[in-house]
Symmetry: C2
Subunit: 414 residues, 2 copies
């Protein structure tokens, strides 16, 4: 998406240079290293240890299960092939990411400011795995059903409120903020409607992956992904395990070119890499957005009050806050704090790394939102809610389904 390269570069090289801060550089390096390690760790943890466990069965047993119709060993080989296909995506994310930071794929091992190899922890590697799986949800045709439940209401609410302003010469652009933008699909869909969308994301795993899919893939359906290949439980058949999807189902660059050719509106797109509560309570972000869309986001807050303060601060008077999501509080045990390093001396900027946390019910969230200067104009009753999986194989014998809350609040003028 050539038109947006300047935005991308700005987002990495703006006010804050992660390479200049030791703690932040460590987090970035670990994200790079986790994508580098995807191929090796996936083979090791998925097929290698399963082959060992398989050969540890009594020999008559593993021999029978090696032959048709079971052919368990052949399936391990097919899973290895699927892992290699997935790992090609991890490598592509790594390559474009290193390039955008001017880092070498083979750094000087003795220079700690350059050498990112070997810095990933198990937790970083797990994040690389889950980030790759997320392409199923955000950028495959097969993930459409999950997106319809989560992004559909946001797009419809934005259209109802601001649709008339699109294409009007007299009106300013409609600016929408998407905190927790993840792999960027909602940001892209909002721009496709003609609105200007700014995604905010704190995870380098997500930022590197979204930068690749938004800016560096060559066209629609160019990359194969096996989102469920690494999981061996609750399967009806091996075909189910090895299902392949193609990404991106919609190619951002192509979509923009088509919009221009048809004189259709396509909004400005940008991404910010920062702690949400810190960046959007900054004076430069006072009353600049017409709407904030939080999707599967508010339960990442240890202290929801901070999120509400930031949303209120950056919304224009009468601005709209649209929310879709459950309340799976991420910070229950305080063990899952900000993945970014942050500067330890700067207590005022610690954002979600601030101590303390609380887990509210939906009824309490409604009270808090209204008490903090919003009027809730719309809320779905529990029985009206659609259910959806989260990166969920629809054929699995286990379906963890969300019944996300959907509501719309308007900033009140006090």
């Amino acid at each position: 998406m050539d038109e947006h390269e300047p935005d991308e570069i700005r987002s990495w090289s703006g006010d804050f240079d992660p390479l200049a801060d030791n703690a932040e550089r460590r987090v970035l390096f670990a994200a790079f290293d986790s994508f580098r390690q995807y191929r090796r760790t996936a083979h090791m943890n998925t097929t290698h240890r399963r082959r060992q466990a398989f050969y540890a069965l009594p020999s008559a047993h593993w021999q029978m299960l090696s032959e048709p119709p079971f052919s368990i060993l052949d399936n391990f080989n097919r899973v290895d092939d699927a892992i290699d296909v997935n790992a090609d995506i991890a490598d592509a994310i790594l390559t474009t990411g290193l390039s955008s930071f001017g880092l070498s794929a083979n750094p000087d091992p003795n220079d700690p400011r350059e050498n990112w190899h070997g810095t990933a922890t198990q937790s970083d590697v797990n994040k690389a795995h889950s980030t790759l799986r997320q392409f199923y949800r955000d950028w495959s045709q097969e993930g459409q059903a999950e997106r319809d439940v989560c992004y559909g209401p946001v797009l419809s609410d934005l259209q109802n409120e601001f649709g008339a302003r699109i294409g009007s010469e007299d009106e300013d652009e409609v600016r929408v903020l998407v905190p927790g933008a993840g792999l960027g699909r909602l940001v892209f869909e909002i721009c496709r409607q003609g609105f200007a969308a700014e995604g905010n994301e704190i995870s380098y795993h997500q930022l590197l992956a979204s930068s690749w899919i938004l800016n560096h893939t060559l066209g629609p359906q160019k990359h194969a992904l096996h989102p469920f290949a690494l999981h061996f439980s609750n399967l009806l058949s091996r075909e189910q395990q090895l299902q392949e999807v193609k990404i991106p189902d919609q190619h951002p660059g192509t979509a923009m070119v088509e919009a221009q050719a048809n004189s259709a509106p396509f909004g400005r797109m940008s991404m910010s890499a920062a702690d949400f509560t810190v960046l959007y309570t900054n004076p430069s972000n006072k009353e600049v957005f017409d709407a904030v869309a939080t999707v599967f986001f508010i339960d990442t807050a240890p202290n929801l009050i901070r999120y509400i303060e930031a949303i209120r601060h950056c919304l224009k008077p009468n601005g709209l806050w649209i929310n879709v999501g459950p309340l799976l509080w991420h910070f229950e045990d305080g063990s899952n704090r900000s993945q970014h390093g942050g500067s330890e001396e700067d207590q005022g900027d610690q954002g979600i790394g601030e101590p303390g946390n609380v887990e509210l019910t939906e009824a309490e969230v409604f009270c808090l939102v209204e008490r903090m200067g919003f009027a809730i104009e719309k809320r779905e009753a529990p029985h009206e809610r659609s259910m959806c999986g989260y990166i969920q194989d629809p054929n699995s014998m286990l379906q963890p389904l969300y019944r996300p809350s959907h509501w719309v609040a308007r900033k009140q003028n006090v």
Copy 2:
């Protein structure tokens, strides 16, 4: 259930005395200790650390959230009350369990053959917590929907095959084995239909809890349980979190007395405490059961072939194997081996502690069952399957739902 006291005593004091084996005694002691620790660990992990995290919020925030309509601190107090109600059940399980083994509640701390205090690991304590929650599924009216999906098909299959034999003077009793009997509800329901049911269970947590509910509660609805009080995510309201259920919804002793008064059949009930694959491949168990009912059980096998061998061995010719459940393989990483100690010198008896494991798909399970001497007479297609939670709050915004497989196989005469 006085009539069954002899059975209960036999099950603890039969061929194998767990107190005589060091490793086995250690596992039993840890189970006792985990119920003793329920009250303290639940308060500590649930409310104590949440109060700390709450007071770590900025003081203006926690003060606002302490007042109505939030009253977060009052809710912590209500959760503490709910924990105490649950802990009364843990204490009752402990008291009846110690008594049946002739152990003291206050053992000599210097005698390792007596002193069971302080032996539970974190994993043991977690098992005590999940065992208590399981009463929701097996012994509350509210758990009926989950039981209907899982036990309903078994009862209906048994009735179709053996119903005509009930109450007939000429016929022997119909003997049904329930491996992984858990808290005993399916065993009880099978006996209520007039069949003789033998439950098998390896977990002392489950055995102690099932012994209490089957033999030692005073009547229906005598004990309150707050199954969801310890969980703070995906709640619509606090009422939902603090929901109370009463157990047992059906009192086993009362049900038996009523059956006798009405001259209705009530089958013989027994429980065995052992590794399934070891006990039921024993010559004493050759061809003694008319049916085996496995519910949410076969995926506990590291090596399903061993389970099938045991089922085939203990079934009479033409006997029926009824299965309901998903394929959430429990042994994926080999880290979850037999909870019982086992005798290390006796390699032949290690049962599910044997090395090696494999995870099959449903299609592969069907092939294996038929290859090993069964004919599958009935199987539900995926679209025919009912969904059910597993100890699931039906109002939660997250619903992990199973679509369990249900099939019936008949032992072939070779």
